[in-house]
Structures are given as structure tokens and as C-alpha cells.
């Protein structure tokens, strides 16, 4: 009995990894939102110079970049899951699913590059 068990193909760990990544990225996004609220609460009326100096400070650049990356990962896992819930099967469905995943992927990569460009002042 155990033999049959062991010889069966081992499942992947992707579900587990996705699960953990989704929770970690949620924490990152949560921290970022709380940090923004705190910053705004502490500095009542920030003018352009204050905004600029805050959002170009080293740690703010890193935190913003990390958050954008977290959003992209979080969204990818979520959208991938939605796609595999609602577009199932082979044939046309598979083509449709892969197209959907491709579009989501392209959109997220675009979002990532664009946001990083903005954050680092390259665009």
C-alpha cells in the first residue's frame, strides 16, 4: 500500500507557494497603506516640495517599489485563480484561458514597468 503511495507522481507545491506569496504580498500592501495614512496624518498639508522630498527619499522609493511588485504578484495569483475557476476545460476553453492569462500577464508587466518608471522618476 505504501509502495503504491510513494510511486504515485508527486504533486507540485505551487498551490502552497501561491498561498504564502498571496498572504505576504497582502501584508506588504497593508503596511504600505497604513504607512501612507500615517504620513498624511502626521503632515497635515504637504506642499509639492514636501511630497517630492518624501517620495524621492531612499526608503520611500524602496517601499513603493516593493509594494508595486507585491500588487503585481498578488493580482497575478488572484486573476490566475479566477481564470481557472471560470474558464475550464480543453479545446476552445483552453485557448480562451491562455489568452486571458496572457492579457493579464502583459497588463501586469506593463503596470509594473510603468509604476516603477514613475516611482524612480524615469518616465
Amino acid at each position: 500500500m505504501v509502495d503504491r503511495y510513494l510511486s504515485e507522481s508527486r504533486g507540485s507545491k505551487r498551490g502552497l507557494i501561491d498561498f504564502i506569496v498571496q498572504r505576504l504580498t497582502a501584508i506588504v500592501i497593508g503596511i504600505y497603506v497604513i504607512h501612507l495614512v500615517v504620513i498624511f496624518a502626521l503632515n497635515g498639508d504637504m506642499d509639492y516640495a514636501a511630497w517630492r522630498s518624501y517620495f524621492t527619499s531612499g526608503y520611500s522609493l524602496l517601499l513603493s517599489s516593493l509594494t508595486v511588485l507585491a500588487i503585481a504578484l498578488h493580482a497575478w495569483i488572484g486573476m490566475w485563480t479566477v481564470g481557472t475557476d471560470y474558464i475550464r476545460g480543453e479545446g476552445i476553453a483552453k485557448t480562451l484561458r491562455l489568452t486571458y492569462q496572457g492579457l493579464i500577464g502583459v497588463a501586469l508587466v506593463f503596470f509594473l514597468i510603468w509604476s516603477l518608471g514613475l516611482i524612480w522618476g524615469l518616465l
Binding site: Y5, K13, G15, D85, R88
Partner: protein, 233 residues
């Protein structure tokens, strides 16, 4: 009371239909939904449904009653009847064989996937493998499952991916063997559960907990499996 029964014989009918019956509820006693069905069948012997024990033990009369899954033999009419109507449908999401009788093959296939038996590769002791009281207690709330499928067929994730997501019933049993101190295949079992479908399709919607006629809690078992998976890494 009006009883609306889902009628469908796939070989004969183009589409399922709802058939209405009038039913006089007795004033002096409470009836179970199964009692109503049994009496209706005297009127109309063509209604098909499964039943055996009529006391919540065999798990054969799981069905959807006024929108809720449960065992007809354990559900009082007064607890679910609404606007003087009782609507009976087969368990959602499974192929219908006839009327209220569904094909459970896929449900059993998911159950089989989790290797629902004790695996122990150690030398068998002379008499039996003993458990402490605490070890035995861990199986409470798990071993009582009667495989009625009320939970899995109320789970949206199971409706979407019945071939890949094991579903609450199978996962409750998966945890029943993961939690058993006499089972030595814990990590082999866990290794088969880490993919994106088997366990992780559970979205903690808790329909399963709501549906279970034995008051079991598959959601809790599933979150314990997740914890074990994380710790096992």
C-alpha cells in the same frame, strides 16, 4: 402544503421539470422530509430517490431542500418549509441519474484520491496499535463523516473544479488520516496536497460547515491541512 419535486429522466426527457404535488401535513406530529417523499411515492411511484437507514446514518438521502443541502430523513418539514412550499432538488453540481438520484462517482473518486485508509509501515504489534486518550480525541469531529456529499455539493469551488479540487468531504477525511497517530505516511500524504487545486481551491466560504448534517467542520480541517503544509516545508 405544495411539494415541488425535480423530475428528470435523462434518457427520456429533453429537460428537467418541476412537478407539483399537494400534501396534507398532519396537525398532531412533525414529519421529516423523507416521510413526505415516502407518502408522495404512494401517490406517484415513479419518483426516484435514495434512502436506506432513515436515521441519518447511511448518508444516502442527501438532497437540496428549499435551497439547502441536507439529509431528508433528518430534516423536519417545519424547519425549512417556506410560503407553504417544499421544493426538492437533487444535490447541485452532480450529474442526475434520475429525479433526485445523482451520480456520485466523481465525489467518490475525490475521496479515493486521499488514500482513505490507515498506512503504517512499522512492524504490526501483537495485538493492536494503541492510542492515548488525547491522540484518540484528535479524531473526534472527523471520523463521523457519512460521505453524504451535502458539503461538497454546496461548495462553489467544488462546482467549478469537481475533477481537481478534492472538496470538503475528501479533505475532512484527508485530515482524519493526517491527524491519526497510528498513520506513518503523513509527509507522503502532504506531498500530494500542495498543488493549486487539491486543497488550495478552498476559499473558506464555509458553505460546507453550514450544510453538514452531522455538524462537522470541514473548513477547520482544511485550515489545519494548510498549516501542516506550511510547517512541513
Amino acid at each position: 402544503m405544495r411539494v415541488r419535486v425535480y423530475r428528470y429522466v435523462p434518457e427520456q426527457d429533453d429537460a428537467p421539470r418541476m412537478q407539483d404535488y399537494e400534501f396534507e401535513l398532519p396537525q398532531d406530529r412533525e414529519l421529516m422530509v423523507l416521510d413526505v417523499l415516502e407518502e408522495l411515492r404512494l401517490q406517484d411511484p415513479t419518483i426516484a430517490y435514495r434512502r436506506s437507514c432513515r436515521e441519518g446514518v447511511c448518508g444516502s438521502d442527501g438532497m437540496n431542500m428549499n435551497g439547502r443541502n441536507g439529509l431528508a430523513c433528518k430534516t423536519t418539514v417545519s424547519s425549512i418549509v417556506a410560503r407553504d412550499t417544499l421544493t426538492l432538488r437533487p444535490l447541485p453540481g452532480l450529474p442526475v441519474i434520475r429525479d433526485l438520484v445523482v451520480d456520485m462517482s466523481q465525489f467518490y473518486a475525490q475521496y479515493e484520491k486521499i488514500d482513505p485508509y490507515l498506512i503504517n509501515d512499522e512492524e504490526p504489534p501483537e495485538k493492536e496499535r494503541l492510542q492515548s486518550v488525547e491522540e484518540r480525541e484528535k479524531l473526534d469531529g472527523l471520523y463521523e463523516c457519512i460521505l453524504c456529499a451535502c458539503c461538497s455539493t454546496s461548495c462553489p469551488s467544488y462546482w467549478w473544479n469537481p475533477d481537481k479540487f478534492i472538496g470538503p468531504a475528501g479533505l475532512l477525511q484527508a485530515y482524519r488520516f493526517l491527524a491519526d497517530s497510528r498513520d506513518t505516511a503523513t509527509s507522503e500524504r502532504l506531498e500530494k496536497l500542495g498543488d493549486p487545486y487539491s486543497v488550495f481551491r478552498c476559499r473558506t466560504i464555509m458553505n460546507c460547515v453550514d450544510a453538514c448534517p452531522k455538524d462537522l467542520n470541514p473548513t477547520r480541517a482544511i485550515s489545519k491541512i494548510r498549516t501542516m503544509l506550511i510547517e512541513d516545508r
